[in-house]
């Protein structure tokens, strides 16, 4: 973010700034009327905002304020949110500190962002920490369907750049031809090969990377390749306003790195090779391209590393302007699907362009994870629909209802379970006086205090003070069964009551009325599911109540 702000400052410095409070006049809605329809459409989306809705970029102090609000977590640290949810980050292997998340409340859900099973820098994808999840949500998967890329590439690459579209050997065939290449490679070693060739042809290389971990790995692989070819004197540059911070910082985070790099910690070595490269004077960290320092050390051919800002900002721009016409030079950039747009201002481009694509989880890997973890349900983007045949191919084809495809803006409802596991304190269990029923169930009634702690339910004994407050509801009972009139009559008469049965059999066999005359007047109305006792003699009432109760099941 700081780099973005710095570069924005640079941009303003270079190109001047209109008053930051106002949009450029050509972006004000009244001006739209005069624009051609197509232009207007590009500016204003359907909902009337779109690109015309420009925002001011945040400043440095905004970054600080924002960062102050962030609570840092460790991998696999369980954080309770208001005690009703528990969230946990787990390494995704894609970047330094990149994480997938496990969110557990009533259900346990895992969200997989771009993930990598084997990572050269950061800690690898941790599948084990998702063991308790019932729902897996996958996003940012690798699509095998590369048609989209190819179209994009052919259309984006300038004529002559992409003569050979052979996908399988994009690198060798094209680079050896001494011209250019427009392919997607997934392996850093491939990248380093092309870089090496470029250097051998005395061309310079601009490597744009998306993430810091990626930068570190690319840097290492390329420097290693140069070493192997006795080209150690080729200078390496890392250009970024925050270059120094990044390089120092990355050397102090062993617990976020891959197992191999952690071994380096135990051996007491630097975590990344850049420390050594810096000491040897091969790698130069430059805060800006136009500085005195740069002038001193700059030498071509060289390899320049910079963060990828879509070729719109930062040190990449002057270098692109410088090298774009030089067919010996090479641009390595991450595949984003926006290549055409990115390269547009630099046309015609003569330099070679190599796309590098990080490994991500694909259909194979997802299937393997599903197979291993067996979640109740897993969600994948709709765009991947065609690519999950293998899941259906197994014997469970018909029964595979655990996969759901989602689209942007879709709201999917995942049914909540009827029962949730809760913890009941043993003290509570001790207060239960269970009653064995004929059905084999044991039933008991208890008063509990319900709490949530870290997403889990806990049933505890009520505190004494609270108990007294709720004394009123304590007498609430449930009971069931039907009072048999004859039995009740027997009991009542057995207790010496003088009573008489008024059966209203003509209406309903189950409704009866017992009228007691001595010792006090009383009536008892009986139905299938009700009993009403009417008397003013409390002793008698108690007696009748007991008689009725003995015929019912109470808890």
């Amino acid at each position: 973010m700081e780099e973005l702000v710095c570069m924005h400052a640079e941009y303003i410095q270079n190109f001047g700034s209109s008053s930051p409070e106002f949009k450029p006049s050509w972006l004000n809605p009244p001006a739209f009327q005069d624009y051609p329809a197509s232009f207007k459409k590009a500016l204003v989306d359907d909902d009337g905002v779109g690109r015309a809705n420009w925002h001011l970029l945040y400043r440095k102090k905004d970054i600080q304020a924002c960062m102050d609000q962030i609570r840092c977590v460790h991998y696999d640290e369980e954080i309770s949110i208001y005690d009703c949810l528990c969230i946990k980050a787990s390494s995704s292997g894609f970047e330094l500190g990149a994480s997938n998340w496990v969110i557990s409340g009533a259900r346990c859900l895992s969200y997989f962002s771009a993930s990598d099973l084997t990572s050269g820098h950061s800690m690898a994808l941790n599948v084990a920490s998702h063991i308790k999840s019932e729902v897996f949500l996958f996003s940012d998967l690798k699509s095998n369907n590369t048609d989209g890329y190819d179209e994009d590439l052919t259309s984006c690459s300038v004529k002559g750049i992409c003569e050979n579209k052979d996908k399988d050997y994009p690198v060798e065939t094209k680079s050896l031809s001494g011209r250019c290449c427009g392919g997607v490679v997934h392996d850093l070693l491939e990248v380093s090969k092309v870089v090496l060739e470029t250097i051998l042809f005395r061309g310079s290389v601009l490597v744009l990377v998306n993430g810091i971990g990626e930068l570190m790995e690319t840097l290492e692989v390329i420097s290693q390749a140069l070493d192997n070819s006795n080209l150690s004197d080729v200078p390496l540059f890392f250009v970024s306003p925050v270059a120094e911070e990044i390089l120092v910082y990355t050397n102090t985070i062993p617990e976020w790195l891959s197992a191999e790099r952690q071994e380096k910690l135990y051996a007491g070595e630097a975590l990344f090779r850049h420390v050594e490269l810096l000491q040897q004077g091969r790698l130069h960290q430059l805060s800006a391209l136009c500085s005195q320092e740069t002038v001193k050390v700059w030498r071509e051919p060289c390899v320049v590393f910079a963060l990828n800002w879509g070729l719109r900002m930062g040190p990449a721009i002057p270098l692109m302007l410088k090298w774009r016409q030089d067919p010996r030079c090479l641009l390595v950039m991450p595949e984003t699907g926006m290549t055409r747009l990115a390269l547009a201002p630099f046309q015609p481009v003569q330099m070679k362009v190599l796309h590098y694509c990080r490994r991500k989880l694909g259909e194979m890997e997802v299937s393997a994870i599903i197979e291993k973890m067996k979640p109740e349900l897993f969600l994948v983007p709709e765009t991947m629909k065609g690519e999950f045949p293998s899941l259906g191919d197994s014997d469970s084809r018909a029964s595979r209802n655990d996969i759901v495809f989602y689209n942007m803006w879709d709201i999917l409802t995942i049914p909540a379970p009827r029962y949730t596991e809760a913890d009941m304190m043993a003290e509570v269990a001790c207060t239960v006086h269970p009653r064995q029923l004929d059905s084999g169930h044991s039933v008991g009634k208890v008063k509990v205090r319900i709490q949530q702690r870290g997403g889990k339910w806990l049933l505890d004994l009520p505190k004494l003070s609270q108990e007294s407050d709720d004394a009123l509801t304590e007498k609430e009972t449930i009971c069931w069964g039907t009072v048999e009139v004859t039995k009740l009559m027997d009991i009542l008469q057995g207790n010496g009551l003088c009573c008489e049965l008024h059966s209203e059999g003509h209406r309903n066999n189950s409704e009866h009325r017992i009228v007691v005359t001595t010792p006090s007047p009383a009536t008892v109305e009986l139905g299938l599911q009700y009993t009403i006792i009417e008397t003013n003699d409390l002793v008698l009432r108690k007696l009748i109540t007991d008689a009725v109760r003995s015929l019912l099941t109470f808890i």
């Binding site: 460790h74 379970p417 009941m424 084999g440 039933v443 006792i533 003699d537």
Partner: protein
């Protein structure tokens, strides 16, 4: 042993012994086959030898193969510490080594490194988490959970931040047991600042006078802190005397410290971009040839406590001279030379069997320990709020004092077990039950909101010393029905759900009472007039408590008097009415269930529309008046009106007019039929008494 699992916390050694007693007596471990089967896992808190010293011995010689856990820094630094110890033992003392370099490394390979707060699950039962403990780099406290039993083991910790480390941080975990160190069980230390100043001044003075300062330290921890302190001081005071580190060991340790900046305190972390705190300007590596070199110097020599090795060797050389100084930082184990110096028992030292050594140099004891003091221990215990306390890592008499204090101040049982003693502590038992969603969520939303609000308020409060995260504020009292089926599955349900599960329906068990009352066609003024009604609920309660019987009896007589009517009424209307009531009620209950209004307690009763003698509106006005009155009298009990019925809890008062016209114009006769279920007996009585008072009042006013 916790929840059937055996966990070993720390695997240390005694620094004061040089025979078999230095290692723990592993034979005391309850046996289940070999050690690997007997112990489920070993958790090491930090890299000090008294916490890790026996680990290679245990894994490589005793053959423990199970999992071992420690933090990243501990895993990185422990081999240095162990190797240093091994070398001291073998090279300097000429003892037979207990384990080799290779064995140290093999041992460390079996270790799994963990991060702070990372929740690690081992098997399905064991779960644990590390918390920052200060003390030394990578020191951690561990919270362990096996099944439902929980233990916090603190290892060594420090509640005040020092030059390079932060203070211990732990959540309010409320474990069954906390095992805490108690090195300074009774000491309360003054401000650290003053101690630092004294130390620096003493060193400064000694160096200015041309003396040599020996600081025996362990390679890691104290050495770095004092180095930061001295380096900083040298810089400020522009001192030139050299500061040495003995051997490359401590220097090598600094490399690790630089890598592990994330485990230091915030200040060090913040400055590490510009200058790594562990890049010392004035510190250089010590060469043995400088031992007898003239001129002042400061030397950090290992091991600490002067228990042998270079530090003892240098001590022997320097101690006889008055201008020299020995700084003993921190705690010394009884039996070491350091301990004897600190306690000041001898000035003549039997450092070797042959040579008697007279100690003439100055001795500066720096109470600079990275252990917390008594106040810190109490603070931590109070914060963690465990149900039982065990004190370890301290001196018996002081621990006994602290124990008394814990028992009296915190009111929890506290134990001070000796070696080989067993303490048994009961843990909380928890049953796993299945609670229905309905039961749990019944009134959750309300309490949730309030709790969120209270938490938000919490956040705005100034940050406390230790994070206090989990205040369980979501709670709610409810009665639950617990059903255990044949498979011993326990379900927790709402009463209604329970009936469904049991496949039965509720039997309504009710009482009824009819009150024929003469109440004049009154207005609100009449009600307000009599004083008795304004006295509030207490008055009402008194009446209902004692005198309630009288009105009831009277009412009974009343019923008798009108039995003729009643009989007729019952015969003709009762069934129809009842059916109506029950049908309606069921419908409403269904509705209730559907809408889940949470008003199950309230029995809504059907209306009874037909009213012949008196115009409907008059009756309605009557109901309205009575309702108003009841609301006023009943206070906080929810009471509502539906057609000719007034309902409060399960009590339903149905008001109908008398069929046979009687009384004068102004006076109408009404029948109040009260029906209630057993649980609302009190309320029913109260209402009946109120209704009677109304009658009396209206008669009086008439």
């Amino acid at each position: 042993m916790i929840g059937g699992k055996t966990i070993m916390f720390d695997c240390g050694m005694h620094m004061g012994y040089h025979d078999d007693r230095r290692f723990p007596d592993f034979s005391l471990i309850p046996k289940r086959g070999d050690y690997t089967q007997s112990i489920d896992c070993i958790i090491i808190t930090h890299f000090h030898l008294d916490h890790i010293g026996a680990l290679p011995y245990f894994t490589e010689i005793c053959g423990y193969e199970g999992p071992i856990f420690m933090t990243y820094p501990t895993k990185a630094l422990a081999p240095l510490m162990l190797e240093d110890y091994r070398r001291v033992m073998v090279d300097r003392r000429g003892q037979q080594e207990q384990f080799s370099v290779l064995q140290i490394h093999d041992s460390m390979k079996k270790v799994t490194a963990v991060d702070l707060k990372q929740t690690i699950s081992l098997g399905s039962d064991i779960q644990f988490r590390a918390y920052y403990a200060g003390h030394v780099l990578g020191a951690a406290m561990f919270h362990l959970k096996v099944g439902e039993s929980t233990v916090v083991y603190t290892g060594d910790y420090n509640m005040t931040p020092d030059r390079h480390l932060g203070a211990a941080q732990i959540d309010r975990l409320k474990p069954d047991l906390i095992i805490t160190e108690s090195t300074y069980a009774t000491t309360i230390r003054d401000s650290k600042h003053a101690r630092e100043r004294d130390f620096l001044q003493a060193v400064h003075k000694c160096v200015t006078n041309g003396g040599k300062v020996l600081i025996p330290v362990f390679a890691l921890g104290r050495a770095q802190e004092l180095c930061i302190l001295l380096d900083d001081y040298w810089e400020r005071m522009n001192l030139k005397a050299p500061i040495y580190f003995s051997a490359g060991l401590t220097m090598q340790a600094n490399v690790y410290y630089k890598l592990l900046i994330a485990w230091t305190n915030q200040k060090v972390k913040d400055t590490c971009i510009t200058r790594n705190t562990f890049d010392f300007k004035h510190v250089s590596v010590f060469d043995r040839s400088q031992l007898n070199a003239p001129g002042p110097c400061v030397l950090f020599a290992t091991p600490g406590m002067l228990s042998g090795g270079l530090s003892l060797e240098v001590f022997r050389l320097w101690a006889p001279f008055e201008q020299n100084m020995v700084v003993v930082p921190g705690y010394c184990v009884p039996g070491t030379v350091g301990y004897r110096l600190v306690t000041g028992k001898t000035v003549t030292l039997d450092a070797d069997k042959r040579i008697k050594l007279e100690v003439r140099c100055q001795i500066h004891h720096l109470s600079f320990s990275a252990h917390t003091d008594a106040k810190g221990i109490m603070d931590l215990l109070r914060h963690v709020s465990a149900r039982h306390v065990i004190l370890v890592h301290g001196e018996k008499p002081k621990m006994a004092l602290l124990r008394t204090r814990i028992i009296s101040e915190l009111g929890v049982p506290c134990f001070v077990p000796g070696n080989g003693e067993t303490v048994e502590v009961p843990s909380r038992l928890v049953l796993k039950v299945l609670a229905s969603e309905k039961f749990l969520t019944k009134s959750q939303s309300n309490s949730l909101q309030t709790s969120i609000k209270s938490k938000v308020d919490d956040v705005s409060a100034p940050k406390r010393h230790m994070e206090d995260v989990s205040l369980s504020s979501i709670h709610d009292i409810r009665s639950a029905i617990i059903i255990m089926d044949k498979e011993k599955t326990i379900q927790v349900l709402n009463p209604e759900e329970a009936l469904n599960v049991l496949n039965v329906s509720q039997h309504n068990f009710l009482y009824r009472c009819r009150l024929p009352l003469y109440i004049s066609g009154m207005n609100d003024k009449d009600f307000n007039a009599p004083e008795v009604f304004d006295r509030g609920p207490t008055e009402g309660n008194e009446i209902s408590g004692k005198e309630l019987m009288k009105p009831s009896k009277k009412c009974c007589r009343g019923i008798q008097e009108f039995s003729g009517f009643q009989q007729q009424y019952d015969l003709e209307d009762k069934d129809a009415e009842n059916e109506l009531i029950w049908a309606e009620r069921k419908e409403q209950e269904n509705e209730l269930e559907l809408e889940d209004k949470g008003a199950e307690n309230e029995r809504i009763w059907a209306e009874h529309k037909e009213q012949e003698g008196i115009p409907h509106s008059v009756l309605e006005a009557m109901v309205q008046t009575v309702y108003k009155h009841l609301v006023k009298q009943l206070g906080d009990i929810v009471c509502y009106k539906q057609d000719n019925c007034i309902v409060a809890n399960s009590v339903c008062i149905k008001i109908s007019s008398e069929k046979t016209q009687s009384g004068t114009e102004n006076k109408a006769q009404y029948i109040f039929t009260c029906t209630w279920s057993g649980q609302d007996e009190e309320l029913a009585r109260q209402i009946i008494s109120i209704l009677h008072m109304m009658q009396i009042a209206s008669q009086a006013s008439a």
